[in-house]
Amino acid sequence: MQLDGKVAIVTGGASGIGRATALLFAREGAAVVIGDVNPTAGQEVADEIVRGGGRALFESADVTSAADCRRLVVRTILEFGRIDVLFNNAGIIRRATVMDLREEDWDRVMAVNVKSIYLLSREVIPHMEKQGAGSIINTSSGWGLAGGAKAVVYCASKGAVVLLTKAMAIDHGPRIRVNCICPGDTDTRMLRAEAAQLGEDAGSFLADAAKRPLGRVGSADEIAQAVLFLASDASSFVTGTSLVVDGGGLAGTG
């Protein structure tokens, strides 16, 4: 058990990479607090963990709200007494060029993908500092390191996460480690929504992925394993880094 006795917050924990990570963290012994805007799916993840003998709770939270972030942290402390791991994972995508992106979509994507990390981390860090240790993992993307078509604000937001991660790592060492993951295309609901935004079917996305070295998209469970590494003591000398988990997508094409 790599997270025995630890307490973790997972945002965007109701689905996709967040859900897979919440379940994996719980299997590794952590008490997991799931924050999400989707109460039905979020509660189901918590219930699934508790049914399996683990410790979990769901707290309805919009991580773009400072008040919600504060409430999420207070609830976590009241219930479990500490916070060892923060997985800032909530994220959304809008597929558009600067010419067709709506201004409110720019603001929303930047708020969910970037500002939320600031809002929630500032509530969590004082607890980690007092405890003397903690690990923060932010979700960036392969598109935080390389550009992609019709995804300007998503790329901008995920690029921001990469540098926000490095800057936080500098500020909050040596007690707190801050890293991010950069997943490539992953088989989640968000990927399907993305296809819909472009008027394509998800099948074409999955087919595109065949060009990368490992010849397929990733599963949420495979991304969760990378998050577990960064959350656990196995990565005790790793901070400020961006861990690419993309089946070789950024390595190039053969």
Binding site: V73, V74, I77, L78, E79, F80, G81, R82, H127, K130
Partner: protein
């Protein structure tokens, strides 16, 4: 203590020190107890130590909205509030000449405005129901002058006068008293002392020691009980004789 069984008690600043000891005492008396505190870590800890608590309520008493929400939650959890221990308070050690406006505002906000917010919220509930007891934590620092805590001392003097005025207006339905502890050896206070400092302070106290938090809790239990039904508007000092003789006891 007569009359505390099944009484519904809300204790502010109840997650540590005097408040936590008071929570334990009322649970021992068979009361139903909720504690309110601004420190969620301490709330988590007291819930582990006192699993019989009816509820733990995170709130900052200097924020009226949070006070009202927490009080409503206490009523939801216990069905009402019969006894309020209005205890939350902070202090900052600083010389009078160095007190910043921010420090002054903070101490006033918690110790005086916060006490008022909680007292008024509870008093409205109790007056409507026709009975209740409100007990507030003052201090010997609200009776005598002490160096390095001018702002704190002013708030505690304020709590004493607030107590007396409330007692007059809320009688005969609601009794209101204050407890004025002297030196109390809470775990937090002990951590701030070296052994030598503790010994030096103890020498000034006629009973030659600090109070245990449980001894302050016992006074709260008495004043809340039916044994104290004819007592209102008074301040009860529990200080090992510290202020009995003024300078003579120093």
């Amino acid at each position: 203590m007569r009359g505390l069984e099944a009484k519904r008690v809300l204790i502010t600043g109840g997650a540590s020190g005097i408040g936590a000891a008071t929570a334990a005492r009322f649970l021992d008396e068979g009361s139903v107890v909720c504690v309110l505190d601004c420190d969620p870590v301490a709330l988590h800890r007291i819930k582990q130590e006192l699993p019989d608590l009816a509820g733990i309520l995170p709130a900052d008493v200097s924020d009226l909205k949070q006070v009202q929400a927490a009080f409503a939650e206490a009523i939801r959890l216990m069905g009402g509030v019969d006894v309020l221990i209005n205890n939350a308070g902070i202090s900052i050690r600083h010389s009078f000449l160095d007190i910043t406006p921010e420090e002054w505002d903070k101490v006033i906000a918690v110790n005086l405005t916060g006490v008022f917010y909680v007292a008024q919220t509870a008093a409205r509930h109790m007056m409507e129901r026709g009975s209740g007891v409100i007990l507030q934590t003052a201090s010997t620092n609200g009776i005598m002058g002490y160096p390095f805590y001018a702002d704190y001392n002013a708030t505690k003097a304020g709590v004493i006068e607030l107590t007396k005025s409330m007692a007059l207006e809320l009688a005969p339905k609601v009794r209101v008293c204050a407890v004025a502890p002297g030196y109390v050896l809470t775990p937090m206070q002990r951590a701030e002392y070296t052994d030598a400092m503790l010994e030096e302070v103890n020498r000034k106290i006629p009973l030659r020691r600090h109070a245990q938090p449980e001894e302050i809790a016992a006074l709260f239990a008495f004043l809340a009980s039916d044994e104290a039904q004819y007592i209102t508007g008074q301040v009860y000092t529990c200080d090992g004789g510290e202020i009995a003789g003024g300078l003579a006891s120093r």
